[in-house]
């Protein structure tokens, strides 16, 4: 289940933020925000996706650049809110 979630989020991140000609290999541990792949403005798209896909509500105080910086960290946050 956890692996499935990670794959799903990774697939979304690549589709949403990586251009075909970017030549980037994004993995579960790739820094997304601190590396500039995802900027703080467009991070909102990821939040919208997570809330819809996993039927959760992420408070702004927790949807931080740090918490969204890798797929692994995002999974931790989602699991916390799934209860």
């Amino acid at each position: 289940m956890a692996e499935e979630m990670k794959d799903m989020i990774l697939e979304y991140v690549v589709d949403e933020y990586v251009d075909e000609d970017d030549d980037l290999d994004v993995t579960f541990n790739t820094p997304l925000i601190s590396s500039g792949i995802v900027d703080s403005f467009s991070m909102v798209s990821l939040k919208v996706f997570l809330e819809k896909k996993f039927k959760i509500s992420l408070p702004d105080s927790e949807a931080t650049p740090e918490a969204f910086d890798t797929v692994d960290r995002i999974c931790t946050l989602v699991r916390k809110h799934q209860g």
Partner: protein
């Protein structure tokens, strides 16, 4: 005293962090009027140097145009220095109304509202018209002032990949359940100089019942056959719902901005936009000079034609010299260097050659996309441009990047 030593040390540490990251903004002083040729004190305290300016937003060369200066003098003589008021109390003169009407005619919009700056216009427009049940869908590379304005309002927001129409369509489908949908884009993107495909965007907005707002700050006065802007270039003047733009770039270069568009939307800004309600009116000399600017750009296309020629001539020269430039057809020509230090070093060397240009790197542009952004002006002569191209060739040769593409430059210098 509340400003304790501890507080001072912490703030000093913050400043040092900025310096350590290599993103500290140095002071540069221009000791002459803004123009193609300027006198600069840089670094602070150094002897003044006469250099050619290739980094101003002075697209039409109107910053120091004699007719504009005269109009500013006339405004000062006839309507005074300042208004000492916000617009809605006692800060609106007949010339503010005249400028608004002239801008509406020029842009082909129903109504216009002046703001102290376009930054203010962008800060105020979204909170005035969008509510919680609405959504704003923005291009990911829109100007920082639009980002701030969107964050300040209560509407939901989402983003789409830069100028990717398939992605925009996907987002429009995703948000069909919202009350109002507003698509937001720059007309000309200031860092890349590329034009938003407004024809395709407006067609998508029609299809999905969405409104569109275009920040045309880097286009008003010179993009399009008669300089109306990006919407004229793509022949969608009647399809664009809102334009925000500035009098601080092509249209004069001083300050002031506006929201122009559907009359109900502009009226809501007049009633609700906080930067309009709580900040002073544009000063009379600037208003009067801006009216003169509209006179100049409507009476002749000479300046925008010259700018177009200059941009094409520079682009041809720089490409022939073997530098990597982003393709485009605007007066913004990014010379791509990819590596931040290289961009910084080359811009410093260009200054020593008498060419004033600036290197841009993350976070101003995406990581690994450092560049020197060159901005052409109608005030540049052919000789100015030849000198700039020759300097780029010389400095490019010094760093061994002539003829190298993105891959070659990154292999040599890294990202």
């Amino acid at each position: 005293m509340a400003y304790t030593e501890k507080a001072r040390e912490l703030f000093q540490k913050d400043i040092q962090t900025i310096k350590d990251k290599g993103i500290y903004k140095e002071k540069r002083f221009i000791c002459s009027p803004q123009d193609a040729e300027i006198e600069v004190e840089y670094p602070e305290g150094a002897a003044r140097e006469k250099v050619l300016n290739f980094c101003a937003n002075n697209y039409l060369g109107l910053s120091s145009h004699p007719a504009v200066i005269q109009a500013a003098h006339d405004g000062l003589d006839q309507r005074g220095y300042g208004m000492s008021s916000v617009r809605f109390i006692c800060g609106t003169q007949d010339i503010h109304r005249e400028l608004q009407d002239r801008v509406s005619d020029f842009l082909g919009m129903e109504d216009t509202l002046l703001f102290p700056s376009c930054m203010d216009a962008n800060s105020g427009v979204f909170e005035s018209i969008m509510e919680q049940e609405d959504v704003i869908i923005a291009d990911r590379l829109i100007h920082a002032s639009l980002v701030d304005g969107i964050r300040l309002c209560s509407a939901q927001y989402d983003t789409f990949k830069h100028m990717d129409m398939k992605h925009l369509k996907k987002k429009l489908e995703l948000h069909q359940d919202k009350r109002h949908v507003l698509v937001v884009t720059d007309g000309v993107f200031s860092m890349d100089g590329d034009l938003a495909p407004l024809d395709e965007m407006c067609a998508l907005c029609d299809q999905y019942g969405a409104m569109i707002l275009v920040d045309d700050s880097h286009a008003s006065g010179f993009i399009g056959k008669t300089g109306r802007g990006t919407h004229e270039h793509f022949n969608v003047i009647d399809k664009v719902d809102l334009i925000t733009t500035t009098f601080g770039k092509g249209l004069g270069g001083a300050s002031g901005g506006c929201v122009s568009g559907r009359k109900e939307l502009v009226e809501l800004c007049r009633q609700k936009a906080r930067p309009y309600l709580f900040s002073n009116s544009m000063a009379p000399p600037i208003v009067n000079a801006s009216i003169k600017v509209i006179d100049l750009v409507t009476s002749s296309t000479e300046l925008r034609d010259k700018l177009e020629w200059n941009a094409a001539y520079f682009r041809k020269g720089i490409e022939a010299a073997g530098l990597a430039v982003r393709p485009g057809n605007t007066p913004i020509v990014p010379v791509m260097l990819y590596n931040a230090k290289l961009a910084n070093d080359m811009s410093r060397d260009m200054y020593a050659e008498g060419i004033y240009v600036i290197g841009f790197f993350f976070p101003v542009v995406p990581a690994g996309a450092a560049r020197i952004r060159v901005q052409l002006s109608a005030a540049h002569t052919k000789e100015h441009i030849d000198k700039a191209v020759a300097a780029f060739r010389k400095i490019g040769e010094k760093y061994g990047i002539l003829g190298l593409d993105k891959k070659g430059i990154i292999e040599k210098y890294g990202m």
